[in-house]
Structures are given as structure tokens and as C-alpha cells.
């Protein structure tokens, strides 16, 4: 039987009306917005702040991801920020006093071609140099760790090995949101739901307020954490972002006895699978090719994903799809996020996390809070500035991002 889920705390958070003004306003009440507000309050003493959420708390990508957490990225800049995030994940359940079921069950990234093998081994080497626990597994070792994987060489894309990060894993995504939300509330942050931003008030090039469907809110600083809708907000504020929003789908099966002990990702055949604490198989698909804000994707993408899943895990052929859904991912050309200042004074942006924002949540919050509070980026997010698209100092993580786009 799967482990019992922990009980929720009796009290979670208030549901306040917006005040006339705040020291800072965070737009977007998902994981990144909540984490940013938490670190603003905790690390920088900014407690007169609000999170504005147009829908309900953590109802966007935070509710729609496959909860995978890992830090095995290729480049120094990415390894630094994602590894910092992983270290925060390790201490956050205690710090937030909320067991959000962070399970370090390891993540495998399969290699199916010689090119994959070379790229993966290179990444393992790079990871080790950056202090990231990564190792290379041959097919036998893959099978030992995940016995339900088909490692026969008679399939179209046989498993030729895998990178493995033992400290990686999954967490319960809504519990993460609730953990941050509860602490934010405790520290005095106003979490305002059903509050949609409709525009910004500017004094010259400086932002001074946020227009919402619940009135105008004055603020000294604005932090955008709206993932797929970042471009829409940036347009309201009068600048452009180099991101494209795409539908990304995932699905779950009905509940099963524990069969899948780790997390398996395959960039090549395009599926990633874990088994959630309750027992459902959680699988992610690829992005739809076209831009879309519809929070739904195409059936053929799921069909492709299922074909890949059943070839890798023949046992899944008898599982049933229980539920499918889509989120809106904000992709950049180098598959790396944008965290930093914007052309508008006192307005900051955290976006472009694309298909892998969940794992970055704590580090996004920490570095973005630093950027908002001090007006300058943290060492960790300095390389992820918007300016890199002008300087050409891109951080190409398409190989490690695991979802092609």
C-alpha cells in the first residue's frame, strides 16, 4: 500500500482584500510567486507585500506539472542555480514546517542513441565538476534500479544507458504551494486571489502601481511571476520578452500498487514517468508545436507519449488514463529562464522556465526576491538576465531540459 498522506495543518492562510498600497507586488500566485514572497519576507524583511493571483492559488502550471526535481544541468550557471534549488528543497520541509512529501527517489535520464550516450556522459562529467551527484548507468544497472523498464535491444530506441541523480526526486506540488502560502501568510504577506492584473501605472519609465479588476494598487516594486502569461503582462508594461507560450500536457493513470521506484525521463522518445505517492502513474508529454494559451493540448501528442511509454514500460499497456491536462509553458530560445531586471524601472521579471519551472521554485524565489529587494541580481541569477539575448551569452540547456521545444 502507498504511504498515508500527512494531515493538513488546521490553518492555512487568510483571504484578504487588497490594500491601497504595498512595498512590493508579486503578480502570479503559483509556486514561483509564493516562493518569491516568502523569501522577500524572510530574507529581506519585506512583509508589506501582496501576491496577486487572477485565478486560484497555484492553479496554473503549479497544479499541472509532473513534480520532478533534479539539478543535472550541463552548464555551470544552470548547475549552480538548480543545485541551489535542490539544496533548498532538502531543507524546506523543516523550514516551512510542512511535509510536502519531497521524495529523493532519484531521476534517470535515458540514452537511446550513440549521440545520447555521448551527450549524457559529457553531462555526467560536467555535473561532477559542479558538485552535482550524477552517475552513468549501463543498461543492466538501469534495470536493477527500475525493473519494469524494457532494456531489450529489439525495440526501436533501445535503452543504451542512463544518467542518474540519486538526490533528485519528486514532491507533492500542491503541498509545496500550500507550505509556502501558509508561511507567507504567517509572515504577513497578503495572498489575493481572483485578482487579475489589467495594466500598470507608470511615472515616466518607473512603475508605481498595478491596475486590477479589484482596483488600482500602489506599489514601489513589481515582480512578474506569471509563466505562460508573462508576455501578456510585459506588453501591458510596455516591453517585450523573448519567450513563446506553448501548451504542455501531462496525464495520470488510475491508482496502482507501487511498481515504479524512481523517476524515468526520456528526452529522445519523449516521455517522463514517475509514480505519485497515492499510486497513480504520472506521465509528461511534449509541447504542442504551436503557440497556445488554451491550457489544453492535442491528442496526437498524448498518443505519441503513450507509444513511447508502452515501449519503455510494457507493463503500462494495461493501465488506464484517468485524467489529462495541459499547462502553458513559457519557453525561451536557449531553454533557460529569465530572472532579473526589465527595461521598466522597479519592475522585475521571473519567466522563461519553460517546461522545468517546478524544480527551480525555491531558487527562483530566493534569487528573484533578492533581485526585487536590492534592485540587483543575486550571484545565481546574474547570468539569467534578459540582456543575454543581446550579448549572446546564451545558456543552451536544450539537452538537459528534457522536453524538446
Amino acid at each position: 500500500m502507498a504511504d498515508l498522506l500527512p494531515e493538513h495543518p488546521e490553518f492555512l492562510w487568510r483571504n484578504p482584500d487588497p490594500k491601497k498600497s504595498y512595498d512590493a507586488v508579486i503578480v502570479g500566485g503559483g509556486g514561483h510567486g509564493l516562493a518569491t514572497a516568502y523569501f522577500l519576507a524572510k530574507n529581506h524583511g519585506m512583509t508589506n507585500i501582496a501576491i496577486l493571483e487572477k485565478g486560484w492559488l497555484a492553479g496554473g502550471n503549479m497544479a499541472r506539472n509532473t513534480t520532478i526535481i533534479r539539478s543535472n544541468y550541463l552548464w555551470d550557471e544552470s548547475a549552480a542555480i538548480y543545485e541551489h534549488a535542490l539544496k533548498l528543497w532538502e531543507i524546506l520541509p523543516e523550514e516551512l514546517e510542512y511535509d510536502f512529501l519531497f521524495s529523493q527517489r532519484g531521476v534517470m535520464n535515458l540514452a537511446h542513441t550513440l549521440g545520447d550516450v555521448r551527450e549524457s556522459m559529457r553531462r555526467v562529467g560536467a555535473n561532477k565538476l559542479n558538485g552535482v551527484d550524477a552517475e552513468w548507468l549501463d543498461p543492466q544497472q538501469v534495470k536493477e534500479l527500475c525493473p519494469i523498464l524494457n532494456i531489450n535491444d529489439n525495440i526501436r530506441y533501445p535503452v543504451m544507458g542512463a544518467t542518474y541523480q540519486p538526490r533528485a526526486g519528486i514532491a507533492k506540488h500542491d503541498h509545496v504551494a500550500w507550505a509556502f502560502a501558509r508561511k507567507c501568510d504567517e509572515l504577513g504577506v497578503d495572498i489575493i486571489q481572483n485578482c487579475e492584473v489589467t495594466g500598470f501605472v507608470k511615472d515616466g519609465n518607473r512603475v508605481t502601481g498595478v491596475k486590477t479588476n479589484r482596483g488600482t494598487i500602489n506599489t514601489e516594486k513589481v515582480g512578474l511571476c506569471a509563466a505562460g502569461h508573462s508576455s501578456v503582462l510585459a506588453e501591458m508594461a510596455g516591453f517585450r520578452l523573448p519567450i513563446q507560450s506553448h501548451p504542455l500536457q501531462a496525464l495520470v493513470s488510475e491508482l496502482h500498487e507501487p511498481v515504479h521506484p524512481t523517476v524515468v525521463m526520456s528526452n529522445h522518445v519523449h516521455v517522463y514517468v514517475s509514480q505519485a505517492h497515492k499510486g497513480e502513474l504520472v506521465m509528461g508529454a511534449g509541447v504542442d508545436s504551436y503557440n497556445g494559451y488554451g491550457q489544453r493540448g492535442s491528442f496526437h501528442v498524448i498518443e505519441h507519449q503513450m507509444a513511447a511509454a508502452v515501449e519503455l514500460f510494457p507493463i503500462f499497456a494495461r493501465a488506464h488514463v484517468l485524467r489529462t491536462w495541459g499547462g502553458i509553458v513559457d519557453t525561451t530560445l536557449d531553454a533557460s529562464p529569465i530572472v532579473g531586471t526589465t527595461p521598466v524601472e522597479n519592475m522585475f521579471v521571473n519567466c522563461g522556465w519553460g517546461t522545468g519551472g517546478f524544480k527551480g521554485t525555491p531558487a527562483a524565489g530566493l534569487t528573484f526576491a533578492h533581485t526585487i529587494a536590492t534592485g540587483t541580481p543575486h550571484e545565481l541569477n546574474k547570468p539569467f538576465a534578459l540582456e543575454r539575448f543581446e550579448t549572446g551569452a546564451l545558456i543552451d540547456e536544450h539537452g538537459a531540459a528534457a522536453v524538446a521545444h
Binding site: 523573448p242 513563446q244 507560450s245 508545436s289 503557440n291 497556445g292 492535442s298
Partner: protein, 139 residues
């Protein structure tokens, strides 16, 4: 799954097509004169419109021709299909002249063989339920 009306082949499944991103992005006339900011705009910045979006599509499994499409990125409704090189058929603007896909600089056509097609043909109004080209698609 989108049902896309190819100007040459008629209504086909989305899986036969390849997405080409935002339409009407011209290559800079004098690339050497661009500053870093302008070059970044051309290389990395594309509109990410929520609503009606003009984009390029290639019927890669079919006639291998590019065309433009006006599609709503929220409802995914296809509002217009029109040739490469033709102006975006805005609701207020008059429908552009029929164009030939082959004269567009980024068309894959080798000659001037592409048929002229109605610039504002929409997926629903001109796509018959048949597998063959819509009436008037070729002349």
C-alpha cells in the same frame, strides 16, 4: 488536433503540418547596420500574442508548400488561411489581392507554379469534407 485547410490540398490533420512561428517577420534589409539590440530583436524576439496570431505553416507531409494562417491562440480557431507574401487579412482591412505563393521570398516553390488562391479562405468555409483540394484552390 487542429484541422488545417491547406490552400493546395484541402482540409488535413495537424500532424501533416509543420509550425513555422510568427509570420511577416522580414529579414533585416541591412543586417550589418543593426546594433546588438536590433539584432537580438530579429533573432530572439517574436510576438507571443494571446488572441489572433498570424503564423506560418508548412504542409510538410503533403504539398510541401508554406502558407500563412491567422489563428486564435486561446480558442485555437483558424480565422484565415492566406498565401505567403500576402498582407495579413485584418478584419477591418479589405481582403488582399489574390497572391501567388511562389513569388514570396520564403516559398519553397521552384517556379511560378503555385496556384493562386483566395486570400481569406477559412478552414471552415472552403474546406469540403473531401480529401481533395477545395473548389477554386487550383486554376
Amino acid at each position: 488536433m487542429l484541422l488545417i485547410s491547406c490552400p493546395n490540398c484541402g482540409s488535413r490533420d495537424e500532424t501533416e503540418f509543420h509550425y513555422g512561428g510568427q509570420a511577416h517577420v522580414a529579414y533585416p534589409e541591412n543586417p550589418n547596420e543593426l546594433n546588438d539590440r536590433e539584432w537580438a530583436e530579429f533573432l530572439f524576439y517574436r510576438d507571443n500574442t494571446k488572441g489572433a496570431f498570424a503564423e506560418r505553416w508548412l504542409h510538410s507531409t503533403g504539398c510541401r508548400q508554406w502558407f500563412n494562417m491567422l489563428r486564435d491562440t486561446v480558442t485555437y480557431d483558424i480565422q484565415a488561411v492566406y498565401p505567403m507574401g500576402a498582407a495579413r487579412p485584418d478584419k477591418s482591412a479589405p481582403a488582399p489581392e489574390s497572391g501567388t505563393a511562389s513569388t514570396a521570398p520564403d516559398s519553397t516553390t521552384t517556379g511560378t507554379a503555385a496556384p493562386s488562391i483566395a486570400a481569406t479562405s477559412t478552414a471552415t468555409s472552403t474546406a469540403p469534407a473531401s480529401a481533395t483540394a477545395p473548389e477554386g484552390a487550383t486554376k
